[in-house]
Symmetry: C2
Subunit: 433 residues, 2 copies
């Protein structure tokens, strides 16, 4: 299937259509028609839909998810070194493996992540990893939308050649419908101040996005306060990397002043609840961020630490953790959690997706719904957020293309990919021994 | 399929066999043979296995899970009133529905829960709900092991007829291989002291299990301290319901003295991480309980609050929460989490399952394993706990019977059940209007 070709019209008829729009409109039953990459109809079922009709009498159609923080290629390291503290994990396990990574490994690892994302209803992701061209090659093959973040670490001097490399990437994908080039300064503790300032200017001059790790752990916050007397968020504002096109990954350890800075800046947070919990970094104040007007999206972080790229689990966990932090089950709803994974992600990445409405780009998901763990349905949003799993997703549409069609990935050979990923992972582990 | 008949021999050959035994032995590849309800072989693959051979070249075989705290029939209320505080939830939503429940509703709701449990690798569960005979009828039809807890609330006087009813149940299932009768005093705040004392004596005289909610919320603990100057755990010891055959559901709000009392009593905890988090009740000190020698199992609580009966999610969340509470990802491992769902559950219910070893009752699970979210496999226990989902389970064996066979439930008509459950749920919601 060639996803660059406009796709003939097709129509989903489902038990429920969740539009995810401002009014949270639900059609039950409902119909969604896609033609020429766009949603052309959302509403009650009509007579005589054009083209193929996909009937899901117990199913649900909703906006596809957006994963706003990822290191996709690390899918090759899934479960390689779990239950280890951060510094030994990096120094003794992950960095020695990464020394042996080739661009083809990154391509294969990213495509493996794309397979998992497509199967779990994710249409778009914001990535940060080495060999960004290989990352895009995989996303293009998979037919996914991507924000590819050119990684930056070190000083302005050591990183200078990276800007030339970045300029080539910007030129290469300037006209792409699915690929956006971002700047990915890793973090204030791995980038010098002059490098961060240059990243901020470069992105501002060209209206590019900035994707950065900030306030992930208590140690990071304490170190920054000790060195500069500022929180990581305040420092990011100071050096000019915090603006409406910035996505802050994690933001797990914030003070009230940080929330005010985030709100004033217009930056988005990519909340990564599984990663933060599993690494012992606590719970981001998502309720308070939303109440202050900050846009919050969901991210999975890389599979080397999180193990899966499953935004269903991230949604549920986000809701549970906010309820628990407030000691109040009414403080954060299923609808709030769904918003993080859909419209929150779309806003973070500057996409017009995340909502089902005529005229919007056609990124959507359809579930089958007839299963013991999903029945009965008293409230479709509860069913979706608290009970639905990746395997319930039968169709994923990206830019109007059926990238997952009745449970089959149409854009690449998944069987060959799994073989290839296993062999490359084995070779990498052997190479470091 | 008649699960009361001894089953012909069959053999799993898999990429990995996790025995779950004290040495955490792993065979890769491995083989497990079942005959006449027992495991007859666990080890490396052999030549010429007798009977049917099930080949899973990327799959995993492991002990089946035990769900140690459940209100199974509440599957009918899945998602009925989420994101609501506990007291309005009970008073305005759940109790008014329960007033209309018939024993046939409880049968259907329990069978729906059994379908979900079998599909997610659970072989045994400890239940507490009204119409306990209907609960057992469903478990028997499904072919599941059950501890059925006769529910008790009120005073010794009001509950007196329940003891006669209980005696009939004990007689009825005295010779059952799969059904154990337990006593289920709901909680100290719903049972009078004389009733609890009588429950303790009755169970002690007959060596029966006691299944009780204790220390679930801060309010409960504060109320008990205010009324009696004791924690719920100390009070339970005082009234004689805390012993080696007791399962304490939740134990989310404990002090160090409570942990010492639990350890001295020999009672087990049924840790319910999703329920506790979602209802804002905090995180049970599982690491400290295990370190003190307390047996800890996993429970899902009812689907009306937890939405699913998925012990894969409960395992993962248990590990994440303990890591987070300690601020140390090394403090609780994937193996620790797997132990809660398997051997911890077996000990809590007094079963010889939870381990794969020749001579043990054959309760086991096999996954398929060849999927984008599971590959590559660097560490099979990490893959199982942090990445595997219910849909990866292809075979569930209970008491030697293939209750789930290549993804198909063999003991009842699942399609008819889903229809029936939907109709009953609809009627219940209409009846309360």
């Amino acid at each position: 299937m060639n996803v660059d070709k406009p796709c003939g019209p097709f129509t989903f008829r489902a038990k429920t259509v969740l539009t995810g729009d401002a009014a949270q409109a639900v059609f039950s039953p409902g119909e969604v028609t896609v033609a020429d990459r766009l949603i052309t109809y959302v509403g009650p079922p009509r007579q005589g839909a054009a083209g193929r009709v996909i009937d899901l009498p117990a199913g649900m159609v909703l906006p596809a998810f957006i994963n706003a923080h990822q290191h996709a290629a690390m899918a090759l390291f899934r479960g390689y070194a779990d239950d280890v503290r951060l510094m030994p994990w990096l120094r003794q396990h992950i960095w020695p493996l990464e020394e042996h990574l080739s661009s083809d490994d990154v391509y294969t690892g990213t495509l493996l992540a794309c397979a998992e994302m497509i199967r779990s209803g994710t249409a778009a992701f914001l990535d940060m990893y080495m060999f960004p061209q290989a990352v895009v090659r995989a996303a293009e093959e998979a037919g996914m939308r991507i924000g590819v973040s050119w990684p930056f670490v070190g000083t302005l001097e050591t990183a200078a050649p990276r800007f030339e490399h970045l300029a080539a990437g910007i030129a290469q994908w300037a006209d792409s419908r699915l690929t956006q080039v971002w700047l990915g300064p890793h973090a204030p503790y791995t980038c010098s101040e002059d490098l961060l300032r240059r990243v901020g200017e470069y992105a501002g001059d060209r209206d590019l996005g900035i994707h950065v790790h900030l306030a992930e752990s208590r140690e990071e916050v304490e170190d920054m306060r000790g060195e500069r007397g500022l929180s990581p968020i305040a420092y990011a504002r100071e050096v000019g990397i915090l603006g409406p096109r910035t996505v802050v990954a994690h933001a797990a350890v914030l003070e009230p002043a940080d929330i005010a800075i985030m709100a004033a800046s217009g930056a988005s947070v990519a909340h990564c609840p599984v990663s933060n919990l599993k690494l012992g970094n606590g719970v981001a104040p998502v309720r308070q961020l939303l109440d202050a007007g900050v846009n919050v999206a969901l991210g999975s972080d890389g599979a080397a630490s999180t193990n899966t790229l499953d935004l269903f689990v991230e949604m549920r966990l986000a809701a549970w953790l906010q309820k628990s932090a407030a000691g109040d089950p009414a403080s954060f709803t299923a609808g709030d959690a769904l918003g993080l994974a859909t419209i929150g992600g779309a806003r973070a990445l500057g996409l017009a997706t995340g909502v089902l409405a005529a005229g919007r780009p056609a990124d959507l998901v359809a579930t089958q719904g007839w299963a013991a763990h999903l029945q009965p349905v008293h409230d479709p949003v509860s069913t979706l957020v608290y009970a639905t799993r990746p395997d319930d997703v039968r169709y994923t549409v990206i830019d109007g293309a059926l990238v997952l069609d009745d449970g089959v990935i149409t854009t690449f050979d998944e069987e060959a990919l799994l073989q290839e990923a296993g062999e490359r992972a084995r070779r990498l582990v052997e190479a470091r021994m």
